[in-house]
Symmetry: D2
Subunit: 302 residues, 4 copies
């Protein structure tokens, strides 16, 4: 039976570009990891040995560096829009570009203000410490016609030490879990959210949008009295849609980082929800999308 070439894409992955702005003694930095994936009229590259339609991955890497100079990096999203548009609009065989970006945040190092030692503090304009916490993500796709922008974050680990229950679930012959009326709820948030902007009009203020979406996710996690991690997931996604008009869809992947109460009775001790074992594997994994009515979801399922 004959076979055909299906979906395919290629490009340079994980180009690590750091852009420094030195307009004053107070430097600014942007630290990105950029992955390019191009699709189009590429049958010959796969079938005949002709690379006439192939823009080398090395060139996509060079373009990332050159654009960091030519356009600067205002935000990961805006940088991705520049790149995606360039690859499609300037290479006839390339019909679609998908740019994925990770961004690592840096804080300024502060040293004591000498005029007020141990009270005020002064930032050192060229010294930075990596923020840790979450990694910011962005995915920009362009097909020559319109853009699709999905912002996100990952590795944001949160914990509620109370206000979480889990009971009333299905019991079958393989059930041993005891119902819980006060448990620890911890998860490492991976979130992606799709913007309604598709190329027409001004781009949203991506930096401001990110700050607020992140804040709403944290607040919803903290303020929700939870009967399941699913319920918390829904509260987090809804909170974003209720507050950020530029966002149409939110998808969350929430591993349940189990904290099991240690049985201290063999040692003559009572564990009043004080001592927990933080387990690695296995872990519950809860995934879900919340989107505006009438909008077709675009964020891929992992």
């Amino acid at each position: 039976m004959a076979h055909v070439l299906g979906q395919n894409q290629y490009g340079k992955a994980e180009t690590r570009v750091v852009r420094i702005y030195r307009d004053s003694t107070r430097h600014e930095i942007k630290d990105l990891n950029v992955s390019v994936a191009l699709s189009g009229d590429l049958d010959d590259v796969h079938l005949t040995g002709s690379n006439a339609h192939c823009l080398p991955t090395d060139t996509t890497k060079n373009t990332v560096y050159a654009f960091a100079k030519e356009h600067g990096i205002e935000s990961a999203e805006a940088f991705g829009v520049h790149l995606a548009r360039h690859f499609v609009d300037n290479n006839e065989p390339i019909h679609r570009a998908r740019i994925r970006i990770e961004e690592y945040a840096w804080d300024r190092i502060r040293t004591p203000d000498n005029s007020a030692r141990f009270i005020g503090s002064e930032e050192v304009g060229h010294s930075f410490v990596r923020s840790g916490g979450e990694i910011r993500t962005a995915q920009i796709t362009y097909d020559g016609d319109s853009f699709q922008v999905i912002s996100g974050l990952k590795e944001l680990t949160v914990m509620n030490s109370t206000n979480s229950e889990f009971w009333g679930y299905i019991k079958d012959k393989y059930t041993t879990l005891k119902e819980a009326y006060d448990r620890v709820l911890a998860t490492e948030v991976t979130a992606r959210w799709a913007h309604s902007w598709s190329g027409a009009g001004d781009q949203p203020n991506w930096e401001r949008s990110y700050t607020h979406v992140r804040r709403h996710l944290l607040e919803a996690f903290a303020e929700t009295y939870s009967y399941s991690l699913q319920q918390t997931l829904h509260a987090m996604g809804s909170r974003v849609l209720n507050n950020r008009a530029e966002v149409d869809e939110v998808r969350l992947e929430l591993p349940n980082k189990h904290h099991f109460l240690v049985d201290l009775e063999p040692f003559g001790l009572k564990n009043n929800n004080e001592v927990y074992f933080a387990a690695d594997r296995p872990y519950g994994l809860i995934e879900g999308t919340v989107h505006r009515e009438g909008v077709v979801p675009v964020i891929p399922v992992a």
Copy 2:
């Protein structure tokens, strides 16, 4: 604007189960990492705090262990079929189950045959060394009606030290890459292939099918004179479809593990394709699907 709950799924991820068969002094072992994802009538779990439709992830974990005893683990695929069918057929609110499995292979430790020391060797029936090399993967999905089985492997690293060229590609203002007429080609293969079996009739011999698909991938990589990694990808996928009737679709993800020729001229030395720097990042990433004509591809794009 109102919003709605979209695609969602949940289950226990990464249950590490080891099954030992002790029918003789020659033990057999199966070593799996099993992840369960269930979908269905789960709106209430997200919206109202009722868990009446929720089979706890803890129970899905218990079921993995119990089935390892009740059904044994003939193959990752057959084990996943048991699990997926169970979750959907025995829980009215669960309409779809997806089981993902990683399998780690073990070889037998052999010791010298005492009757012919240093010539023959004798396996120790209860002693094993982990094979390293690739990890085998399987994904089994069941919706109450039919099955979809995707087998695969990852972390299979291969290298051709010659018979690879790359030239004749697009040149633009960002091009600096020099054409190569004899380069090293190395990649870490991630492959997935979809089987035509969907539940009717006997299951394929999964173990035998795996052995042959893996062999064809390796042989195609070794025997293809390559003008691009895309061409090698297509040759690998085609080879499988041409030789294995039970497979309908192959998807490959091939990072180009760049080996750059080191410039030794500053040291008065000539590098005749002998000394290479093995780079980490960035790397080219080539992905593609080959499928039988008329078949709708089912393997998700990463």
Copy 3:
């Protein structure tokens, strides 16, 4: 030729214990990863099959959990002192205990103060977000007689975008590096520092000591005009010894996280120290100890 059993040690590694204090609605948490290594009169355990002198690693794990309840976790160091003393003082064959601890920090999640929305903010007493940034470390060793405490941190990534030079070094036939008069200097700090306290008198205030040592490391990195990473290392270690009387020795491991200036000239662009490639491997690795005169260094070389 006869052989003998040399240095040996054993214990449970990586016990993940989380301790929650619920004395008010403002909870406190301590999140540790504890590894125990015991040595002593253990020849029989290795040689004869007798475990009469072996305290099982499972018991050392249980002890970690029980002590989290019985003694609480005031600091990683104080907790390690409790554990080390217990193992040696209560098990005749155990002559030495070494406790290694990693501590993960958590910040409180704050939500807008409703009475002053978007101006003030209110912490949620039971909701936390993991701090990211560095991991705090501690090693406590006890031999029945005295204690040795080594505090530390790792994964603290810092960058100076200027005030770093490197020139005037040895040139030989393998030299190609160009001298640099304004380079980016970035490193991921691993630091360990030994305390003079050895068991007599009150323990130092470990939490306060840590906060100040960390601050001095950051300040010295930021304020040092650097001619080599070695010079920066020495400045960081010296700064700690000059300011913290309780510390006798500092050891630093500083990988040079190279940021290479990208050559943009092929694209007709000038790179005024603006666009860098952040490299992974290889990397320079600079290690060194600074200690008080007359003190015998105790921190092991990696």
Copy 4:
């Protein structure tokens, strides 16, 4: 109180060099990860900003590449001896060089012999698949006078499905572990062994030595009826010393990769040592040295 500079070292870490030999159509490859650490008269580099005694880490990297061409890579150990001697003998301020090497093994890809398809097979002279399994290690230290060579391996995972017991240990108030009379014993072997060769006379046949030491480690693991992992450790080390005259000392680090029997009774099933949960953390960690009498151990304790 005055402070001084103590132990310090520096160099380029993780230079990834691949050497290909193309003397016939049957290519040979060596794939190494080389880390250099130099010590000596380096006070000024740390204290004054003068780099006059500093051989840049970039130059040590270049030397690795140049030596791969000039000397070839016969074995990791012989390559390290070349490098260490060079750095010390050719740079007056450098008094000591320590070279650490990881080696990744590759197998040849074989394809069916066309003249006897599916019976014989034919290797493809330029096609390789990475072996997986263990990583080989070597550490070579030279102080201008003599050499110290420590060979080793890591990530060699082994399992015995029977012939392991653990009982008769200390019981205290924190003991809950039940004695085991037939358990699974699994570990991921890290082994290092020191050679007696110190520079005089011919070097040992490093490749042959490695093959045999590895074999003895595996055989001792498989053939030892074990009452503790300590006992297995001692048997493994002793076996090497009893059989390999060129080795003076063996150090082993053996994490106990716990396989816990799953309790299937709640499901009405009996677990006859058939179904296990492979745990991640915490894990027992057993470390120990066996050395010839009268020899001073040199392998550092982790």
